[in-house]
């Protein structure tokens, strides 16, 4: 369990995080999403007892990160963003050192266990300096889970990996999420969406939104986007549609399709269809499009609230429900 209340951290005059409040419960994979410099690493470092906050309180498994820092550190597994490792140690020796520092029993078995779990058997006696980025990432993860921590904090765990390894690491995180609370940071939205049960979007040190990825999209987009395709020339269609109540933000996208938004709670589509046909256009297609989480993210992390210019054409699978993100 993680409880964070009013967490604030200043680096000199610069406020890196500002009054963050959130919780995470057992069995949750919580994603921390934000652009560079948002304050993700700062928050994570405070949570694993690396540095004290300037203001506010944070508790991990019921222990205060400042007053009971050692208790917190015993219960947290942490993989820093840069995955720091000792290049002049072998994988086995390094993991054994980390396990020793945590006073684990049957250290060698524990080390063998994580080596197997991370598929590092073949490299156990290699020097870390000879490992590829992906393998190092796995060693970093092995180090973080070696003591079977209650809380796992992973700072950008998939950065710098090739696509196959990204999938591998994501699967691993999902698996770890069953037994641990996982807090991970990322700037890849689809990653947060695929892996996390809940996402907190943070920008400039402030939480701008926090919810399940699905609800976040639905709630934040609010309106539904609809794309209309007509045969032949669509000139003048925008003006025709302009008069229909319940639709806003009409525009023509690069493919020549007309895209508009429906006012929440209204269903103007039958009227739109009738109007298009009676105006003499050939209506080929009318379909709802999803606004991707990317757009939501950009929208939220922009300093002033604005509107996505061109929602991506992504089909929604069922008419009423929340659309699925594709990529």
């Amino acid at each position: 369990m993680i409880r964070v209340e009013g967490l604030t951290k200043d680096y000199g005059p610069h406020r890196a995080i500002d009054d963050l409040t959130f919780n995470a419960e057992e069995g949750e994979i919580l994603g921390f999403l934000g652009p560079n410099g948002a304050g993700k690493t700062t928050t994570m470092r405070i949570l694993c007892g690396y540095m004290p906050p300037t203001l506010g309180k944070a508790e991990v498994s019921g222990y205060d990160v400042v007053d009971q820092s050692l208790e917190v550190r015993r219960r947290v597994g942490y993989m820093p963003e840069t995955v720091p490792l000792y290049p002049d140690m072998t994988v086995f020796d390094y993991l054994k050192y980390m396990a020793d520092l945590r006073h684990l029993k049957n250290v060698e078995d524990r080390v063998d266990g994580v080596i197997e779990k991370m598929n590092l058997e073949k490299r156990a006696s290699s020097f870390i300096s000879s490992l590829s980025k992906g393998l190092r990432q796995r060693v970093g993860l092995a180090q973080a889970i070696i003591h079977d921590p209650e809380v796992l904090i992973l700072d950008e765990p998939t950065i710098g990996l090739d696509p196959a390894q990204i999938i591998e690491v994501r699967n691993l995180i999902r698996e770890l999420g069953r037994e641990h609370i996982v807090l991970l940071s990322t700037h890849i939205l689809s990653e947060a969406q695929q892996v996390c049960n809940r996402v907190i979007i943070i920008n400039n040190g402030k939480i701008v939104a926090g919810d399940t990825p699905e609800r976040l999209q639905a709630r934040l987009t609010g309106a539904r986007h609809v794309s209309v395709q007509v045969g032949g020339d669509s000139d003048g269609l925008e003006e025709v549609l302009n008069n229909i109540p319940g639709i806003t933000h009409i525009s023509t996208n690069v493919d020549g399709n007309i895209v508009f938004e429906t006012v929440p709670g209204q269903e103007p589509r039958p009227e739109v269809a009738k109007t298009i046909v009676s105006a003499g256009y050939d209506l080929l297609e009318m379909r709802p499009v999803g606004i991707s989480l990317e757009n939501v993210f950009l929208q939220l992390t922009r300093d002033e609230p604005s509107h996505p210019e061109s929602p991506e054409d992504e089909p929604i699978e069922d008419e009423e429900g929340v659309e699925q993100e594709g990529n």
Binding site: Y11, R45, C48, G49, Y50, M51, P52, L70, R73, R74, V76, Y78, P80, T82, P84, L85, Y86, P87, D88, M89, Y97, M98, D100, L101, R102, H103, Q143
Partner: protein, 247 residues
């Protein structure tokens, strides 16, 4: 306690997996060996001259002042350079355990090298009839051990300030040269009296070794001096690590 030992033993073992350690040991023993045999040569031609422990204890102390920076510079600066300090500072280890563990690792390594130099008094004991005076050997080695403790302590404290091992090395060497060579003439020039001068005189690193311990006299004051320097350095090193968390 256990954490100190875990950290110290990793550091200790790591010295032996790097060529630098062997080079340090080799250079030290080579220089001492040269001094030793030169003195034997002198003794062979000069009937009045009987070499004692001083023929290798003085160069040993001087060499330690020069090689210790190479031993200590890595200890914390390298952790900061690699970012691995973040692992140690988020492991359930207290900051002072980390600093003392690092110190102990370096200290034990230096002692291992010093232990090899025991061959010189043993050889000398064979060559000189009827054997050498044991007192200065014992007090001299007590002095050397205390000197190592203090030097490694200062080295660890300086290492904690840097994330660049080379910068840590140069700074440590500079501080040692000041404490060992420069303070000595300063105190001599300054004359006897005055409170500020007394402090400078007290800090004279080489005097605490050469005045008594080197001559076979064990003075409590000198022992307390080296132990205080060690303790103060480790305290400051801990404060520096602690402050590093705020940055």
């Amino acid at each position: 306690m256990r954490n100190i030992w875990i950290i110290a033993s990793r550091e200790y073992k790591l010295y032996f997996s790097s060529p630098v350690a062997y080079m340090i040991a080799f250079v030290l023993l080579l220089v001492l060996g040269i001094f030793f045999f030169l003195n034997l040569q002198v003794a062979a031609f000069q009937p009045g001259f009987v070499p004692g422990v001083e023929v290798f204890l003085a160069p040993l102390a001087t060499m330690l002042v020069m090689i210790t920076p190479a031993v200590t510079t890595r200890l914390l600066a390298e952790e900061k350079r690699l970012g691995t300090i973040e692992l140690l500072l988020t492991a359930p280890v207290r900051d002072w355990e980390l600093v003392i563990g690092k110190w102990l690792g370096g200290f034990l390594f230096l002692l291992t090298i010093v232990a090899i130099t025991i061959i010189f008094p043993l050889m000398l004991n064979q060559l000189v009839k009827p054997g050498i005076d044991q007192g200065p050997v014992i007090s001299g080695y007590i002095g050397i051990i205390l000197l190592c403790a203090a030097l490694v302590g200062i080295g660890v404290a300086i290492s904690s300030l840097f994330s660049n091992p080379i910068a840590a090395f140069v700074t440590t060497l500079g501080v040692f040269i000041f404490l060992w060579w420069i303070l000595d003439p300063i105190t001599r020039v300054m004359g006897p009296a005055g409170s500020g001068i007394d402090l400078i005189r007290y800090l004279n690193f080489s005097d605490h070794f050469f005045a008594n311990l080197f001559r076979g006299v064990i003075e409590l004051g000198d022992i307390i001096f080296y132990l205080s320097v060690t303790a103060l350095s480790l305290f400051l090193g801990t404060v520096s690590v602690e402050m590093g968390r705020w940055r």
